[in-house]
Symmetry: C2
Subunit: 760 residues, 2 copies
Amino acid sequence: MASSSSLTLSQALLARAISHHGSNPSSDRVSLSSLTIPSFSGLKSSSSTSSPASRLPRRRTTRRAVRAAAVETLDKTTETSLVEKSINTIRFLAVDAVEKANSGHPGLPMGCAPMGHILYDEVMRYNPKNPYWFNRDRFVLSAGHGCMLQYALLHLAGYDSVKEEDLNQFRQWGSRTPGHPENFETPGIEVTTDSNFVEMFGKFDSCYCLGPLGQGIANAVGLALAEKHLAARYNKPDNEIVDHYTYAILGDGCQMEGISNEVCSLAGHWGLGKLIAFYDDNHISIDGDTEIAFTENVGQRFESLGWHVIWVKNGNTGYDEIRAAIKEAKAVKDKPTLIKVTTTIGFGSPNKANSYSVHGSALGAKEVDATRKNLGWPYEPFHVPEDVKQHWSRHTPDGAALEAEWNAKFAEYEKKYSEEAAELKSIISGELPAGWEKALPTYTPESPADATRNLSQQNLNALAKVLPGLLGGSADLASSNMTLLKMFGDFQKDTPEERNVRFGVREHGMGAICNGIALHCPGLIPYCATFFVFTDYMRAAIRISALCEARVIYVMTHDSIGLGEDGPTHQPIEHLASFRAMPNILMLRPADGNETAGAYKVAILNKKRPSILALSRQKLPQLAGTSIEGVEKGGYIVSDNSSGNKPDVILIGTGSELEIAAKAAEELRKEGKAVRVVSFVSWELFDEQSDAYKESVLPAAVSARVSIEAGSTFGWEKIVGNNGKAIGINRFGASAPAGKIYKEFGLTAEAVIAAAKELL
Amino acid sequence: MASSSSLTLSQALLARAISHHGSNPSSDRVSLSSLTIPSFSGLKSSSSTSSPASRLPRRRTTRRAVRAAAVETLDKTTETSLVEKSINTIRFLAVDAVEKANSGHPGLPMGCAPMGHILYDEVMRYNPKNPYWFNRDRFVLSAGHGCMLQYALLHLAGYDSVKEEDLNQFRQWGSRTPGHPENFETPGIEVTTDSNFVEMFGKFDSCYCLGPLGQGIANAVGLALAEKHLAARYNKPDNEIVDHYTYAILGDGCQMEGISNEVCSLAGHWGLGKLIAFYDDNHISIDGDTEIAFTENVGQRFESLGWHVIWVKNGNTGYDEIRAAIKEAKAVKDKPTLIKVTTTIGFGSPNKANSYSVHGSALGAKEVDATRKNLGWPYEPFHVPEDVKQHWSRHTPDGAALEAEWNAKFAEYEKKYSEEAAELKSIISGELPAGWEKALPTYTPESPADATRNLSQQNLNALAKVLPGLLGGSADLASSNMTLLKMFGDFQKDTPEERNVRFGVREHGMGAICNGIALHCPGLIPYCATFFVFTDYMRAAIRISALCEARVIYVMTHDSIGLGEDGPTHQPIEHLASFRAMPNILMLRPADGNETAGAYKVAILNKKRPSILALSRQKLPQLAGTSIEGVEKGGYIVSDNSSGNKPDVILIGTGSELEIAAKAAEELRKEGKAVRVVSFVSWELFDEQSDAYKESVLPAAVSARVSIEAGSTFGWEKIVGNNGKAIGINRFGASAPAGKIYKEFGLTAEAVIAAAKELL
């Protein structure tokens, strides 16, 4: 982003997003010229005072004035009749869109429209013309199926990403209003590119609503953690530059999922006071009344988790109750708040409200008419009444003013605290500091043998010094996963400025919280850790990382039977294959120190892909021929005594088995064979190389290929070919010392040699 | 089991287990002749009254007498000094075994020895010489890393599976005391067979301790559900033939995992009064004091979930407190009970108790000595003092008497309620009723097109009539997964005899509960359902099904982009590949009615493998050439116009894409090509066929092969070969009507035809 220094930070982010639109004019609706916000320069690295932003008053009173208009209508400055009209507008936008698509979930938007209206119209601070504004309040619709609520709110609020034609295209091919919205880092990207998973989705950077239940509230916890952490690190007594709330709406489904209990237990533990979650208590899930499977006392549970709990008994029309609850929640600063809002699902539908039939299906023309009559709604589908439109229109100037005020504040901050400002700026922008990669440790064959989990810790500690946004931790295995950053303490309720996060034994929540951290701003780089086999506990969160392009680094140790005695429940077998098959994620299995450093380099540089590092428990030698550059290519030649790209046989290994392949090669060479050893650290990266490069590593003419990997051979046919041999493990593991299992399972240099000889 | 009618049911089960030992004499330690239990015949289908069992008094008084000895020492008939000696024996067996292995977890056994002693010596009803006795109390060590506690208890109780030499072999290759124990259906199987994952593990059918945290308490909920269900179906006012408790010990780690909240919410909802869980509240997890990540109020949370909660404040020496808590728990019949027992991890170790260092490492010789001194333990490693041995020895005769009494009771039951007895017997033994498979529906190409999820429901409803042990449900998607058994109501607190289980939105808990149900007795066949993509939420439980050979049927609908509008968060891509790579599980993707019936046949017949059925949301035609028999072979020819096993091209499809392959074949044949269409419904089953059969379906000489499947192509190289072409999806999906996505993604007959022509 060479241009970022001549633009404000907000604009730079927007411009970067827009730069991806080139080849798809239809989605290029946002342009700098169409922005109605003033041209700020608060974030210019020069301290020019003649820029437009500097003309804005910077005193605290201004901020209050802006908030009075945009925010503090909590004091009911709007006529209730207009509020109701706005709420019904939201309801009917949802009803009409689902009806037109003949598919979708009208029930939640109809029931949650009041809280939605109050949040977006009266409470939240955002700038509709710049969804990237750093200090915006975050909103997460954890019950993602109710996304028409969000689309309707964004539409009313003036977001360019949801115009009337987008609502019309709900759930259609290529529309920006898909059935369960996803949040990516760019505002709508072209339909197909080569090496990347991409899709033209709606762009809602100010909101995060994810279909799979429970993920959203976990993301919200991650967002709130990020805010608390950055505020603690960068706020000054005279300048609280990081200061926003995180709101979420979750439903009964989210509450039933175990992940929500995991993350809410952590949120309580961490005292995330600026997290405010609305629980849409509508008593209906897909299979009917929640009575059939969900009779626990949710409020009491949240109290046990350390939350402040408020019950709004009339969520349908009790607007003042909702407003009062939010005020109370904001007043409680040391605990997150759950506002249980009892609503009627499908409110307004005379025959379907309060029934499961309104959850996930269109109402049908007849019931839509009946609902229009019932709520006194004379308008055509998708109509927004003029007074409602007029009322919401203020959010565009107000949002611009909020951002301008903040930019001015940042300019002051920068003047006074230039070092902190530079660091925070890099976190906000995601720009990596120049030369960061020089911090990566390198190794020679003479360096001591070590487990890649230890080498990983060396990398993490080296990188934490140069990457201010790197933070993370383990699911209660820090001392096994080797993930502690030694120069930092624990992120805790009273020490939120620290960077070691203690997730407890909550893998699923850990992954999803990291997604929230990564999505908070481009320069936060969360990592998280457990044993590789326990990716099974967090797979849904990992898939969401891949789907929403969140750069989360998964530090997965104990990556094979090499962990030994803990036995088959702890020994991954199919896991490498299972992630190689997953789109948009890098599965890396480094063999030694250089490859571990290479894996970290790749993980950091892939800003739109999560990475999984599979690391050994056991010691491994530093091999000759490994390199960071090699890792960047995914597969590369580690050693070779052939000429003319015509080895007799190619031996391929990954991770801890590369050593075995190298040993076998040595033996075979002693017998006069021309043997190439290839490290296949990442299949995805190798796939992305040129055909010429691939041919240079795996020449088509050489069909004598043997692979060795302590995992399922599933998929290896692609690499070794029909005539090759894949040595691996296609059964569960065993409990014994590692060396013994390797031998018993036939993962030995002898087996590689024998296989090679059979093919020669 | 032709022989079962001439043996008692218990003996038949033992004999069946033993029959697997033939080729491995060393593990054949259990034999009928060595049994000290009397030879019962209570379960003979003839109503002979002269059998040995009938000689046992059958009056309730006898049962009481037996219980007085085996169970009701809750009234402290044992000297406290002997109790303490027994508890220290347990502690030192654990300490010594971990020390010898130089690996393991001594902390939990040292802290939990008192509750372990009281449970196994004073409370639980079991027969050590027949771990298969149906009516035994079940015990689950959810904190599976503490398995030496269990091994020590089984050893003292007289189980043949844990002799002193087994304790000596803790965590060693081929031992029956692996690092995290697993429970299989047979008592130790030979080391390697061909097509199956097998390992020589300890056999603990009376206990279930599984390493991955949280799984165990979920299994316990499944076991308690099974008991409540069977009791409700079969108990009579004069004969409560099903009547046992389920006990579990869970630790802080289990409590943190979301799955435990899911299943405990259900246990409370279902009112599982005979589930009693001990929470080992020791304040230590691997990373240190639980204060760093776990500060919620667990007792209050369980109250909110509908549990009865008791706190034993002195779990180290408060034996009477523990006893009183168990009495109280048993008195509460409508709620499960959590007994929070505050213990000191590593109790007795003077320098390491109450620290994380005692959790997962050997104490070290010096500290072992210090602990011996501290607890006044003068004995050699692995020594069981004579008076302790003597004290525990009564469990062998008492256990035999308990079983004899129950067998007699069953004989009475059988006389009076022959029909129910026969049904219950089949559930206990796992024998399938003769001709059950005739219930499977069949279809012709003229049968109406239908979604395989609907065809699945036809199968489930047909099978429920002939398989009394079939029960299950969905994670709040019953009406989408089509899993309701129409002739039954809901399994609920007050209707536990019903067979539709409502799991709520709790996929992970659902899978693990089904594991518990499947492990309760061989004739229970649980099924569970959600969208295929949400296997990501329950993958850890599915892997445990595979690992412990639990026949769970996973009914996974909406199995591809074919689900349409719900979009990429709901569209599986990599899931087929990810399960094909997992050991010991069948991944089945049927194409139509006959294949769906075939998939169910296979799933029912594979008693030691779970099955996943991937089913379509969308309608599919009934194809010519599909068959149940074909499915049993995994891959088979659906249509062919070639001769001499030499087609020009082979088109391979699975599930909803088999139709596309068939259409493409029709077109190609019109152009004079010899085209074979192969359905590849299960890779695992095809792999198990003879080479000759494989060659007859996929002749090596025919390299022109095209596969089509709406999922990742990862792994398909194995089937289509280096020269073939795999059509699939290697990116995330999209939100739009299904037909549109298929077309946009190139999953069409035209694409198959084009690929075929390129290869011809």
